[in-house]
Symmetry: C2
Subunit: 454 residues, 2 copies
C-alpha cells in the first residue's frame, strides 16, 4: 500500500525544472553576493570599523531559493559590545555607502532600522546586527538569523531540491510565507521540516497525521511549553517556537494539501491555476443563487507596510462581525481584501435586515428591585410593542435600533478598536455596499477575490 | 410606608358586591344541595346500600363560590372495603337514579367514571368515592376531596369574603384555574393561601416577595421534596403538593399582578377590560410595524376534552418551534389558540425565509477518517457552493433543504411527536398561513387572541 503513493520521480523533476535556479542564475547570484560582501567590508574599513564585516544569510546563502526570486540578505555584523546607538548609526552609514551604487534605496524598520536596496536587479536587505555568542543571548531579533544560517548550512547538503519542492508545494497550497498577511510557513521552518523528516515526500507523509500540539525538537533541548498548533523548537534557541506565526487554519490547510497530494500527486498541487476575475453578470447570478446578504465595507488603504496593515484588517473583520452578531445579525462568513487604493471587509449574512421588533429579555420576576426597575423602564416607554412573562422573566418587545446591517456598520464600526491606521481611514470615509451595489468595485484583484468568495 | 398601600375597604366592598352570592342565591343553592343529598341517600337505600351516603364538597359546600357559578359537587361515599368494581357499578346506578330528574346527563371519566348532570340550572357532578380513613390512604384520587372539604370548612369561617376576593383577583390576573389549559391556582390552593396568610391583603403582600422554591406547610408535616415553583404541602396528605399543576409563568404572573395591585389598587385588577377582536386593517398595520415573519399552523379541533387537548397543543407548539430552530430559523415567540372548529399554533419568526446557502461545519481537519469522509462526501456533491477550512474544521456551503419556514412546517411537523389527537388531525389536513394570509382566519375568539399577540 505504502509504495502505491510514492510521488513519481518525473513529477518532481518537472517541478524542479520550473523552480530550480539555472547554473547561470546561480552564478549571477553568487557574483552579486560576493560583490556586496566586498563593498560592505570595504565601507566598514573606510569608516574605521575593521571589526565589522558582512555575512550573507537567507535562502540565497543556503542554495534553497526558488528561481525567479531575487532576494539577498546581507547582515552587517558588529561586535557584541557595540552600543545599540552605535550599531544603528554606523550600521546605517555603511549601508548607505553601498546604496550609492543602487538603483533604488529605502529606509525600513523592524526592531532596528535597515536599508532595502535594488542592486543589479536584486532585492537586497542590508541589516546591521550584533555578533552575539549564541542565539539565546541575542540583543536584537535579527541577531538570530546568522545562527539559523549556520545550522541549516551544516545540514542541508543534498536536501536542497527537497526544500525547493516543499516551498513550491506550500505556495501551491497557499500556506507559504510567515508574514502577518499569510501566517503560514517561513523558509527557515520549511528547511527544518525537511531536515527533520529527511525528504520532501517524508515530510508530506508525516504532515498527513499531524494534530495541533505536535512538537518537533531536533536538538531535544526545549525549555518551555508553547500553545501554537505546530511547535518547531528552534535548534539555535531552546525557548523559541519557529512556527509561532503559523495559524491554525494554515496548519490545517497544509495537512489537507498533503493528503490531497498523496491521493493524486500532480503538478496542479505546485502550480494551481490562477483564479480569474469574476464579471458583473456572474456576480449577480451567484448572489441570487446564494440568497444571502452581502456587505462590503470599503475604505482607503492606509499607507503602511503589509505587516502593519493586515493585523489591523483582521481586527476590523472581527470587530465588524462581532458588532453585527451583537445586534442580532447572523454572519455566515467574513473576508478581507486589500488593494493599493482600497481595502474591503466582506461580510456574508443570513440577511442584511432584521425585523423592527426585538425581544428584550429582562430579569426573573422574583428578583427584588431589578425586575421592577426593568418593568417600569419599558412598560410605558415609546417604541415598545408589548410585554409579557416568559420562562419566569419579564420580556418586552421593543423597537430595534438598527434593523439594517449597513447602517449599523456605517454608524458604529468607527467607534470600535480596529487598529490605529485602519480606524483613522474608516473615520475619514467609509462606504458600506450591499448586494448588487458591490458591482461598483471593479478592481481586478478584488474580482479575483470575489470569485472564491461567491 | 406600610399603611399607604392598604387596600381601600370600599374597593373590596365594590368587588364583593359583584361576586358575592346574594341571600336568595345562597338559599337556592342550599335548597338544591339538600334536595340532591336526600335523593342520593334515598336511592342508596332503595338499592339496598344503606352504608352509602351523599357528601357535598367543593366551594358550594364551603361558602366560597363566586356568584354566577352554579357548580355543585356531590360525592357518593362508599365504605372503604367496597371493591373497585362494586363502587363503579353501584355508584353509577345511584347517580343514574338522580339523573332521571335532570335536564341533561353525561357520563364522564377521570380515574373512575362519574356523572355530570344539569339539575334545576346547576352543573352537578355526582362522583362515587371511597370513605377512607385518611387522605394518605386513598384508594382513588377523588377520595381526597372530602378531606380537603373538612380541613377548609373547619378554618374558613370569617375568611369567606377574602377567598372570594382572591379568586376574583386571580381571575383578573389570568391565573385562576388548575386545569391543564391554564396551569394556574386551584380553588383549594386559593383557600389554603388565605388560611395560611390570614386575609386577602396579607396574601397579596406575601406573594410580592415569593421566589420559586417557596414552601408553605400549614401542618408542618411535609415528607418529600418537590421541584415546582410553589410548594403548598397538602394539609391532609404530607406527600402531596397542592400547587403541583401551577406553572412557573402563572406563578410569576401572580407575583406581578400582586405588585401592580399594591402600587395601584383598583377594580381593573379584578375586572380587566375584555380585549376586543382586531380588524383586518389593524392586523396589516401591526404586522408591517413589527416587520417580522408571522406563521399560523391551522388544523381541525380534535373532539376531546380540554384537559386532553391543551397538553397536546402545547407539545405541538414546542415541536414546531424546535423544528424551526433546528433548521436555522429564529423564533421570537409562540402561542396557541383553540376554537371549537379550528386550532391555531402561532409562530413569530425573525424571518419566514432563509438564504439558500447554509454553512455546514464538519470535523476538525486532523481527525483521522471522519474528516476525510466528510470532505469526500461534500466536495463533489451536487448543490455545494464551496468548501474551506475555518477554525481548524472543514466547512462546506451547501444548499439549504428548507429555505421557507411554511414549507418546512407543512412537510415535517406531522412527523413529530405531538400527542395522539392533534397528530391525527394535522396528518389529515394542515394549513400554514403566512403574514397577510392570516387575515383569512375570521373567528372572533382568534381575533381577540391576535390583538394581544401583535
Amino acid at each position: 500500500m505504502e509504495t502505491q503513493n510514492i510521488i513519481p520521480e518525473n513529477l518532481k523533476l518537472a517541478v524542479l525544472d520550473r523552480i530550480k535556479p539555472s547554473q547561470a542564475e546561480r552564478e549571477r547570484l553568487l557574483a552579486v553576493q560576493k560583490e556586496l560582501v566586498a563593498k560592505v567590508n570595504k565601507a566598514a574599513e573606510q569608516l574605521d570599523a575593521p571589526d565589522v564585516f558582512a555575512k550573507v544569510v537567507g535562502s540565497a546563502a543556503r542554495g534553497t531559493w526558488l528561481s525567479g526570486t531575487h532576494d539577498i540578505d546581507v547582515f552587517i555584523s558588529f561586535p557584541e559590545e557595540t552600543s545599540r546607538e552605535e550599531l544603528e548609526t554606523r550600521g546605517m552609514a555603511i549601508a548607505r555607502e553601498i546604496a550609492k551604487d543602487a538603483e533604488h534605496a529605502e529606509d525600513r524598520h523592524a526592531e532596528h532600522p535597515y536599508l532595502n536596496i535594488r542592486f543589479k536587479g536584486f532585492d537586497v536587505d542590508l541589516v546591521p546586527c550584533f555578533r552575539v555568542a549564541s542565539a539565546c543571548q541575542l540583543k536584537s531579533a535579527v541577531d538570530r538569523t546568522p545562527f539559523h544560517n549556520e545550522f541549516v548550512k551544516a545540514r542541508i547538503a543534498g536536501l536542497e531540491d527537497d526544500v525547493l519542492l516543499m516551498k513550491q508545494f506550500m505556495r501551491g497550497g497557499g500556506v507559504y510565507g510567515s508574514e502577518l498577511r499569510t501566517r503560514g510557513f517561513s523558509g527557515y521552518l520549511t528547511e527544518l521540516l525537511v531536515i527533520r523528516y529527511g525528504s520532501f515526500e517524508k515530510t508530506v507523509r508525516a504532515a498527513c497525521t499531524w494534530k495541533p500540539g505536535i512538537k518537533i525538537d531536533i536538538m531535544k533541548h526545549a525549555e518551555i511549553e508553547h500553545e501554537e498548533p505546530l511547535v518547531m523548537v528552534d535548534p539555535t534557541d531552546p525557548k523559541r517556537n519557529v512556527a509561532a506565526a503559523l495559524s491554525l487554519d494554515k496548519f490545517c490547510m497544509f495537512i489537507d494539501h498533503c493528503r490531497e497530494f498523496l491521493k493524486n500527486p500532480d503538478l496542479n498541487s505546485f502550480f494551481p491555476e490562477a483564479p480569474s476575475a469574476v464579471g458583473d453578470e456572474e456576480i449577480l447570478e451567484k448572489m441570487e443563487m446564494r440568497g444571502s446578504g452581502q456587505l462590503a465595507v470599503v475604505f482607503k488603504t492606509p499607507e503602511v507596510v503589509e505587516d502593519v496593515l493586515y493585523p489591523q484588517l483582521y481586527k476590523t473583520e472581527q470587530a465588524a462581525a462581532s458588532l453585527l452578531e451583537g445586534s442580532g445579525f447572523s454572519v455566515i462568513k467574513t473576508g478581507v481584501w486589500a488593494g493599493s487604493r482600497q481595502n474591503v471587509i466582506m461580510l456574508e449574512l443570513i440577511s442584511n435586515t432584521l425585523p423592527n421588533v426585538k425581544k428584550h429579555i429582562g430579569p426573573p420576576v422574583w428578583v427584588p428591585g431589578h425586575a421592577e426597575q426593568f418593568k417600569e423602564k419599558y412598560e410605558n416607554a415609546e417604541d415598545v410593542f408589548s410585554g409579557y412573562i416568559e420562562d419566569g422573566k419579564y420580556v418586552f418587545e421593543i423597537r430595534r435600533k438598527y434593523p439594517l446591517a449597513a447602517e449599523l456598520l456605517k454608524e458604529q464600526l468607527g467607534q470600535h478598536s480596529l487598529g490605529k491606521h485602519v480606524l483613522k481611514s474608516i473615520n475619514q470615509e467609509v462606504e458600506v455596499l450591499e448586494n448588487a451595489e458591490i458591482l461598483s468595485l471593479k478592481e481586478p484583484g478584488f474580482r479575483v477575490f470575489l470569485r472564491k468568495w461567491l
